[in-house]
Amino acid sequence: MKLIVVLALILAIVTAISSGLFGTTWAEKAVQTVLTPIRSGFSSISRQIERYYNYVFAYEALEAKNEYLEQRIMEIENQVRSADALERENAYLRELLNLSKLHDDYHYCDAYIVSWDSSNWKSTFTIGKGTNAGLETGMVAVTQYGQVVGTISEIGTNWAVVTTILDTSLEIRASIASSGHIGVVQGAYSSGEVGKLRMTYLPSEAVLRNNDQVVTTGSSVYPKDLIIGYVIDAGYDETGVAKYALLNPAADFDTLEQIYIITDFISE
C-alpha cells in the first residue's frame, strides 16, 4: 500500500517534469492514438443521438434556417468589413484586401471534433486527424465562415489537440477592423467573463463601439483578417493608461462539430 502511494507520487513528479521538458511524451501519444478511434465512435453515436433528439423536437428546420441566416449575416459582415478596410487603404491595397482574393491562398483540411477537455479551467478539444493528414502544431483552426477557433497545440498520428481562443494561455495579435487599433486577444479568466475574450494593450485614444469586429493582424501563424470576435464592452485596464475590450467570440463553440485547419497560406 505504501508502495502504491510512493509510486503515485513518483509518477506524478515524473509526468510533470517530462511534460514540462519534452511536451507530449511517447506514452501520451500512444494512449491518445489508442483512444482516438474510441472517442470518434462515441462522438459519432453522441452526434446521432443529438440529431435524433433535435429531430424529435422539430429543431431541424429552425437549425437550417438559422444556418442560412448566419451565412447571410457573415456575407454581409464580410462586405462591411471590406468596406471599412478599404476606407483606410489606398486604391492598390483595396484590390489586395478583397477577401475572396485573399482567401485563394488558403489550403484547408477539415476535421471532426472527437472530444473536449473536460476541465473547467482549460479550453481544448481533440480532433480525429493528425500528422497523417499533414497537420502540424501551430496551425490555425477556423470555422467554415473563417472565424478563428484556435491553434493546434499537440499532435499525434491520428489526433491533434486544438487550444481554443477561449483558453487563457493563447494570445493573438489582433486589430479593431473599423479603426485599425491593435491589441492582444486572449481568453477572459474572470468568473463573469467565462466564454468571452479580452483584448488588452489598446491605446487610450482607441474608440471602441459595440459590435466592432476584431480580426487577426496577420503573422506567420495567423493569416490576416480572420474574424476573432465582436466588442461587447470596453474600459480602461488596471494601469489606467491602456484600454481593454471584452469580446464575444465569433465562432459558436456550443455547436461546433467540424472545423477547418489552414494547412498553408501566404503570409504577408
Binding site: A8, S115, W116
Partner: protein
C-alpha cells in the same frame, strides 16, 4: 507449463470483474470528454473519473483498489487530462487514505463513500485551480462560481456509480466465501 496457463473459474470471474471496472472507467471518461465535454450542467462540466476511481477503491480496499486507482489515474493523465500529474497523485492517494479510514473507523457504505468522493473531487479540483491561480491564468472568484458547483454536480453521479460498482463487486463472491 501448460498446466500453469489454465485459468480457474474463480480467476475468470476476477478477470470479468476487473474488466467491468475498467469499462466503467472508460465509459465515465468518454461521457466526461465526449458527451459532456462541450456541454455544461448548471454551468459547469462534471468530473466523473474521480467518482469512479474513488468508488472502486473504497469497495475493493486500499491494496487492490489502490492499484486500480494508480493505473487508471495514470491512464487519465496520459489521455491529456488538465494538470494530469496532480490527478495521478490525488486520485491515488486520497481514495487509498479514504479506504484505510473506512476500514479502520467507518464502513465502506454509501455515505462514507459519498463523503470521500466529495473530498477527492474537492482536493483534485482545488489543487488544479491553485496551480492555475498562482500562474495568473485564473481569477480567484472562480473558486466559488465554478469549483464548488463542479464538485457538487459531479457528486450527483456518485449514487449511480456506487450502485454499479457494488453490483460488479458481487461477481465472484460465491468463490470467495
Amino acid at each position: 507449463m501448460l498446466d500453469k496457463l489454465y485459468i480457474t473459474p474463480k480467476q475468470w470471474l476476477h478477470i470479468l470483474r476487473w474488466t467491468l471496472y475498467s469499462l466503467l472507467f472508460l465509459l465515465a471518461m468518454m461521457l466526461q470528454t465526449v458527451v459532456f465535454g462541450n456541454h455544461t450542467i448548471f454551468g459547469v462540466q462534471p468530473n466523473l473519473v474521480p467518482v469512479v476511481i474513488t468508488c472502486v477503491c473504497l469497495r475493493e480496499g486500499a491494496e487492490r483498489g489502490g492499484l486500480f486507482a494508480l493505473l487508471t489515474s495514470l491512464f487519465w493523465c496520459l489521455s491529456g487530462a488538465d494538470e494530469g500529474s496532480v490527478s495521478i497523485a490525488v486520485l491515488t492517494i486520497v481514495p487509498v487514505l479514504g479506504s484505510l479510514l473506512c476500514s479502520a473507523v467507518l464502513t465502506n457504505r454509501f455515505l462514507p463513500c459519498l463523503a470521500i468522493t466529495v473530498v477527492t473531487l474537492f482536493t483534485e479540483q482545488t489543487l488544479i485551480f491553485l496551480l492555475k491561480y498562482f500562474f495568473g491564468t485564473m481569477a480567484g472568484s472562480r473558486f466559488v462560481t465554478d469549483l464548488i458547483p463542479c464538485v457538487l454536480v459531479s457528486a450527483l453521479a456518485q449514487p449511480v456509480v456506487y450502485l454499479l460498482v457494488k453490483c460488479i463487486e458481487k461477481i465472484g463472491d460465491a468463490y470467495e466465501s
